[in-house]
């Protein structure tokens, strides 16, 4: 009979054992009945007929037993018995089972979760044909240390004509558009792209066609939608192709829909428009120093990222030499793979985290092996009896392995369930930090990975203890209760526990540093008052406004909105800026000179972060006026423009002189400093204030605007009234976002929060595992030494003395681990320094707190087996020997 048939029969027999037994009973009963009936027919009386039938049969029970044996399925029946036995055993020792399952759940859960993240973010290829050929390219200014800058359309044309490393090059500028005429006006992210953009990416259209060179050449008012916008605006109607869409007041025709997977530049991009439809009013004159384009390209066959970078750098250097007036200093270029620019930021961090969780699982296996060894000692009598009764060692190992497998599979099931929660938590914490998060899913790959881990884990942690436990010599075990199990490996186990404790020390110290840093960030004074304020971000709608009226319109729209919102009940003050602190990326620094020529010839030119605001901006934000006056509502036309400087600008640029009354040459005319305001953390809470100056927005009105609304009470109560007010003043004005100022500040800390929480979780994991490790090794030792401890107690050792002895043994392990971990932490925490704010990488408080926590947890873990040891009954311990 083939092995397969045997297996099939075996599985069938094991699964249907009860049914088979029932059928056998019926078959034998039928036989006896027929035999009896034949005797009756021969004239034998009923009772005698039954007796003869039984004699002829010869032992019904023995026959049934022989049939069962003949089924040849002992191994599978054994397996089921082992499984049932394992489950019963675990139910009898809930403490051990809980510790083991917790270890496995944490280990496998953390690994499955991290694998899910790494798989979705790093392993799966980018959703473009031949994604390895795709690169991003940038202009660079090596002298200024700028590596990834935007570039001008003229430089791009020269690069594109000359570069040989690329199959195709494309450039684009992100320029959000206000879509009107389809329900409420709405602001949508848009990329204005050059002719080869879609050829470079290679993604086919979901519907219709992508933009092609003819659209660019004809300056056709054609637009391609993203799938998301097509669903919300057109309810996924295939007839959307050919319909019109109004972008910033101009009517475009929809020619195609791109699939949702095309998330190339900014996540909110849902429109693609020919770059040639932009005019000078929108993007400025086409000069070489008008650098607003970003680039993406596909490498030519055989070209490499390095070679392409060298070629483009050489081209940039040539242009810098040819056009010194505009390109001086811009003599370099950078080419990076698209993968690098998409996931490069998090790749290393994710891989390190994956390695850490892998290590955690390994440590978990060590723990489990220790726990099982400890149990093995406790069960050595059971094993000895079984061996003495004739169970082959193979059979005992198999039973113990079955137990490990049951544990591992149950642990994996718990772990995979936990990883689903963990992934959700990580993704929501990491929103905006983790790229490609939409690709992360707990699918078959992740579950398969988890199960694979479970099986591997069961083999690693189960085989050795099973083998050792089964090696018990029955005589020794039955006589001494100690067996041979204790023979070796003790030193190795102790060393592993020391490493575990050290790892926990490192991670707990890291978590302590991150937490301290995060708390200091929370305490940073941003320079404004985040409480009780709303922010309303928008792009001013200029649709339908004639070119010469735009400046006037931008000012008027601002003033109208400010005035109307200010009139709302519950509003204290309203202000407006073009670049909002913390939320918006700052513009390039503004260069200016003192009007009296002072400071000219200095090495350092005067540079400051310039922001255009309205006079009430400072009151609305809660930025204090330190000296002089605020900005006036108006000033004489021939007078210099009033300007404010912050304290840092006054200190650094005016070098202690009183700036008030100073005139500066702004290039377009003169400005005069009328006051000094408080410093604001403009870029990030962790970033020290840099020199900042403020000019009235009326002199250079911008399309981008963010309003700050200072409220009396709960700012959220004003969200609807503000929307209403906007609608009344300007029904065509969309709002990009309304949120509280506190939310804006909190979001800026998302990255810090993410890494702090991640560290804290890993530290907690490591701490738990270290505790289980200490517990396991001591429990093992106590079990092994039961008899010795019994002797000690019989000879007069007190319970307290035994307790101290065992805890002391644990304390030695913990002390060694703590020493090792502290040294490692001192060496490693330097790597954290760049992530830390206002906390030294060797912050004594964090170190001390970590060590106290660790010692407390580890010694508690040592106390449990110690207490068991101290309660050993000497009489019992000695009798059992």
């Amino acid at each position: 009979m083939s092995r397969l048939a045997a297996l099939r029969e075996g599985v069938r027999a094991a699964v249907f054992r009860r049914r088979d037994d029932r059928e056998l009973d019926e078959e034998l009963a039928f036989h006896l009945e027929m035999e009896e009936a034949s005797h009756r027919r021969a004239g034998v009386a009923a009772g005698e007929a039954r007796r003869r039938a039984r004699i002829a049969f010869g032992g019904v029970d023995r026959a049934a037993e022989e049939v069962r044996e003949a089924r040849g399925t002992a191994w599978l029946v054994d397996l089921f018995a082992d499984l049932r036995f394992a489950v019963r055993t675990f139910r009898r020792s809930p403490g051990f089972t809980a510790a083991a399952l917790l270890t496995l759940m944490l280990g496998i859960g953390a690994n499955a979760a991290m694998f899910g993240l790494v798989d979705g973010i790093l392993l799966r290829p980018l959703p473009y044909p031949e994604p390895k050929e795709l690169v991003r390219f940038y202009q660079a200014s090596p002298g200024e240390g700028v590596e990834q800058a935007t570039f001008s359309a003229l430089d791009f044309e020269d690069w594109r004509r000359s570069a040989r490393s690329f199959e195709a090059m494309a450039a684009f500028v992100h320029f959000p558009q206000i879509v009107t005429g389809r329900g409420e006006p709405i602001e949508i992210g848009a990329d204005f792209v050059t002719e080869d953009y879609f050829r470079v990416l290679g993604t086919p259209a979901r519907l219709g066609r992508p933009l092609d060179p003819s659209d660019l050449e004809a300056r056709a008012l054609h637009v391609v939608l993203g799938e998301r916008l097509w669903r919300t605006l057109f309810a996924a109607d295939p007839d959307a192709i050919g319909q019109s869409l109004t972008l910033n007041g101009e009517t475009f025709t929809i020619v195609g829909v791109m699939p949702a997977s095309l998330r190339f530049s900014t996540p909110d991009t849902d429109l693609w428009v020919p770059y040639s439809t932009l005019d000078a009013m929108e993007i400025g004159e086409a000069t070489r120093d008008n650098r607003h384009l970003e680039g993406v390209a596909r490498l030519a066959p055989g070209a490499t990222v390095e070679r392409a970078g060298q070629e483009l750098s050489a081209l940039a250097a040539r242009l810098a030499a040819l056009h010194p007036a505009t390109n001086v200093g811009w003599d370099g270029a950078t080419v990076l793979s698209l993968r690098e620019t998409t996931v490069g930021d998090v790749e290393d961090a994710l891989l390190v985290v994956l390695a850490v969780v892998g290590f955690i699982l390994l440590i978990g296996c060590v723990n489990l092996a220790n726990l099982l060894l400890a149990r093995g000692t406790a069960r050595s009598r059971e094993m000895a009896i079984r061996t003495a009764l004739g169970a082959p060692r193979r059979r005992i190992v198999r039973q113990l392995e079955t137990e490990s497998l049951v544990l591992a599979v149950a642990g994996a099931a718990l772990g995979i369930a936990a990883s689903a929660i963990a992934v959700d938590v990580v993704l929501s914490l990491g929103a905006g930090i983790l790229p490609r998060a939409e690709n992360v899913a707990l699918d078959g790959r992740v579950i398969g990975f988890g199960l694979l881990l479970a099986v591997a884990t069961a083999l690693v942690f189960g085989l050795f203890p099973a083998w050792r436990t089964a090696r018990v010599e029955p005589q020794t075990a039955l006589r001494g209760g100690r067996g041979e199990v204790a023979a070796d490996g003790g030193r190795l186990r102790a060393a592993l526990v020391v490493v575990e404790v050290a790892l926990a020390v490192v991670l707990v110290i890291g978590a302590g540093l991150m937490t301290r840093s995060f708390l200091s960030l929370l305490r940073v004074e941003p320079g404004f008052e985040p409480e009780r304020a709303l922010t309303v971000a928008m792009q001013i709608n200029i649709a339908g406004v004639p070119g010469d009226g735009v400046a006037q319109h931008l000012v008027q729209r601002r003033e109208d909105l400010i005035e109307r919102v200010r009139a709302l009940p519950g509003v204290v003050e309203v202000g407006m800026t073009n670049v909002f602190p913390i939320q918006d990326a700052p513009n390039p620094l503004w260069e200016f000179a003192f009007a009296d020529g002072r400071g000219a010839g200095d090495d350092e030119p005067l540079r400051a972060d310039l922001r255009y605001v309205n006079p009430s901006w400072f009151r609305a934000m809660g930025i204090p006026l330190v000296a002089g006056e605020g900005l006036p509502e108006s000033w004489p036309e021939d007078a210099p423009v009033p300007m404010l400087v912050d304290r840092t600008a006054a200190r650094r640029l005016w070098r202690g002189d009183d700036p008030i009354g100073t005139r500066i040459d702004a290039g377009w005319g003169e400005a005069v400093v009328v006051g000094v305001v408080g410093d604001v953390r403009q870029v990030a809470l962790a970033r020290e204030p840099a020199p900042t100056v403020y000019l009235p927005h009326a002199i250079a009105p911008r399309i981008m605007a963010t309003m700050a609304v200072r409220t009396e009470g709960d700012p959220l109560a004003l969200v609807e009234p503000v929307r209403q007010a906007f609608h009344e003043v300007a029904p065509d004005q969309p709002i990009r976002s309304i949120e509280t100022l506190e939310e804006v500040v909190a979001r800026s800390l998302a990255r810090d929060r993410f890494f702090t929480v991640l560290f804290a979780v890993f530290a907690g994991l490591a701490l738990t595992l270290a505790a289980i490790g200490v517990y396991g090794v001591l429990a093992y030792a106590v079990g092994r030494r039961t008899q010795e401890i019994g002797v000690r107690m019989a000879l007069g050792a007190s319970a307290g003395g035994v307790l101290r002895m065992v805890v002391g043994e644990g304390a030695r392990l913990v002390a060694a681990g703590v020493a090792l971990g502290t040294v490692a932490a001192l060496l490693l925490s330097r790597a954290l320094a760049s992530q830390l704010y206002a906390v030294g990488a060797t912050d004594p408080a964090s170190f001390a707190a970590a060590l106290v926590v660790l010692a407390a947890v580890a010694l508690t873990a040592a106390w449990l087996p110690a207490r068991r040891a101290s309660r050993i009954d000497p009489g019992q311990a000695l009798r059992s020997g």
Binding site: H31, A63, E69, A70
Partner: protein, 115 residues
């Protein structure tokens, strides 16, 4: 399978007889035991009970299959029938038996002296 090699002559014989019986028509356990007894003219007085482990072994090896059917008296009974593998086994065992019994006969008929 080890039990096959170590099986005693009687057991091997029983299997041969069962296979031969089932090659004529499908039959239930009692029927098989009756047939063997009749045909062998009551020579084989094996305990009927040992028939069932043999049937189970042969079933496990795929020589016979079993199914529940109704008897002429409208009783439910397990009927065994030969599989193609069983037919091959019958032929094989039959050859083996003939060889073995031939050899035994020659030994019994040898009257001494050099062969």
């Amino acid at each position: 399978m080890p039990d096959h090699e170590t099986s005693e002559l009687l057991q091997g014989t029983l299997e041969l007889l069962v296979l031969k019986t089932l090659s004529l028509e499908p039959m239930h356990g009692w029927g098989i035991s009756q047939r063997i007894q009749q045909v062998s003219r009551d020579v084989f007085q094996v305990a009927q009970g040992s028939l069932y482990p043999a049937l189970q072994r042969m079933k496990s090896r795929g020589w016979i299959r079993a199914e529940w059917r109704t008897t002429e008296n409208n009783r439910r009974a397990r009927y065994y029938s030969l599989t193609p593998a069983g037919e091959r086994e019958l032929a094989r065992e039959r050859r083996q038996w003939e060889r073995a019994s031939g050899a035994v006969n020659r030994v019994l008929e040898w009257a001494g002296g050099p062969a």
